[in-house]
Symmetry: C2
Subunit: 295 residues, 2 copies
């Protein structure tokens, strides 16, 4: 089938690679309002042809909206205005505002709101990579508003990437995404800012940046163009989790200030429980992999 | 030579492995006040013999103090009381309180305060691993208070691990360690606590914990027995960096609350600069590796 990818960055480009190599897409059209990205995406062979939005939507069987979330809110109704029977899905990290925008659109049933829980801290077409989605989780939001054919197309595409597909309502998705993903990025940005603020000559960071620092600030490399819209579109949830987070930091501050060894131990041992969860999550993924191998 | 390792956990155990396989230690004595650790360390072959503190110090040429930092402050003067001409070094993350404690000890010159910038989030003898220190940075603090022979022994041991050895005064070390290492751990603990607080049924974390979350909370698995003493021994610096960090989080909170896209962009783009620093740090390490290969 023909696929049009609107926004050929890390996610759109990685989708293009895997849709092609897994025989899902015969011809891939690329649409990007950034001419540099468009040229690179073509040069890298991610897409076969760069076209304008109208042409892209018209020529496609499936349209993918892999743009920052504010652009997705703006573009989704426009794309739905242009389609006939095409299936459209987005790949953004915040779902409720987007879904509200198209709630009463006559083509709403052709749209599927999906969030592949995969990515890296890099962006742009040159960050695209094969296998980015393999064995990760895909969340389909508010599936009851999409028709069966559209859901089937999405399940087929992401099923071929061996993704574990789950369904969730958009409101819950946005709350959980704030806690499990969005706050990690703010935490990491603020950490980078603190170190850069203090270590003006940078030499000490070079010398002392061990593995721990590198892993906690990894996400601080992430692009503003993607994350500013996420924080603003998911404003209420992000503000809530920021408050929770800052409160726990005050807990640590007070306990350290008071030399309260016992309180610090309680806090750290409670935090340690995340180990079991991460390990269960990894096991779940490897069980999923195992299942795929067997079937 | 004979080496005695006091505290055979992640760091002490990894030192034992590499001192043996690189021909530095002929016989390794282990001292541990936790009987389970002692038994495990012997069973894993990390040490040849478990002995008491007095015997360990007497029979050794080199004594390593790889215990939590509060235990090091307590044990360092006792060990120095017992030595004749042995060299003693510690491996802890906070230096000033320890160095102050032994400042006027008659055997002060036999002691070298070192901080190998290496570790994992795991602890105990079973966490010990070969090559943990390879190509990492070693900081020697206040080297002018140690005699040449002791410094030479330390440089020889860690030089054989291909570590990049730098010197720093203890006060600066503790400030930088707070910014580059200690705050990362608090940030990670608080992140884990926030998620665990919200996600009471844990299923959503299993489903949504992508790579970003896993990398920022990795350090939240770290042991209270190690980190409570670090935060308390480095109290003033840790409180200072916590304030800086919380202030940047408020910057984010205010900007999100006010839909201040421009401010968010400035913050994120400034944080992105950490990318260059991490990459320079990695380059520096690989240049160091290259140098070793050539020499």
């Amino acid at each position: 089938m023909n696929v049009t990818i609107i926004g050929i960055g890390l996610i759109g480009g990685s989708l293009a690679i895997d849709m092609r190599r897994r025989g899902i897409a015969e011809h891939i059209f690329g649409v990007d309002n950034n001419p540099d990205n468009a040229i690179q995406a073509k040069a890298l062979g991610l897409v076969d042809e760069i076209v304008d939005l109208q042409t892209g939507v018209e020529k496609a069987d499936v349209v993918v909206l892999s743009v920052p979330v504010d652009a997705a809110v703006y573009l989704a109704p426009k794309v739905l205005d242009m389609i006939d029977s095409q299936v459209v899905f987005d790949t953004t990290s915040v779902k409720l505002p987007l879904i509200k925008t198209i709630a009463s659109h006559p083509k709403r049933k052709n749209f599927v709101a999906v969030h592949p829980m995969a990515g890296t801290e890099y962006s742009g077409p040159q960050a695209a990579q094969a296998g980015l989605f393999d064995n990760k989780t895909l969340i389909i939001c508010d599936a009851e508003f999409s028709d069966k054919k559209s859901i089937a197309v999405v399940e087929d595409v992401f099923g071929k990437f061996n993704m574990r597909i789950i369904q969730m309502d958009a409101y819950s998705h946005d709350v959980h995404a704030a806690y499990v993903s969005h706050i990690s990025h703010i935490s990491s940005f603020a950490l980078a800012l603190s170190v850069l603020y203090k270590e003006k000559d940078e030499k000490n960071i070079f010398d002392m940046a061990g593995g721990g620092f590198a892993s906690t600030v990894r996400l601080a490399k992430s692009a503003a163009s993607m994350w500013v819209p996420i924080f603003l579109q998911n404003k209420q949830n992000v503000l809530e989790v920021l408050d929770t987070y800052i409160n726990f930091l005050y807990d640590f501050k007070l306990a350290i200030f008071n030399d309260d060894r016992q309180r610090l131990e309680i806090l750290i041992k409670r935090a340690n429980k995340v180990r079991d969860i991460l390990e269960t999550s990894m096991e779940q993924n490897s069980m999923h992999k195992e299942k795929i191998k067997i079937s």
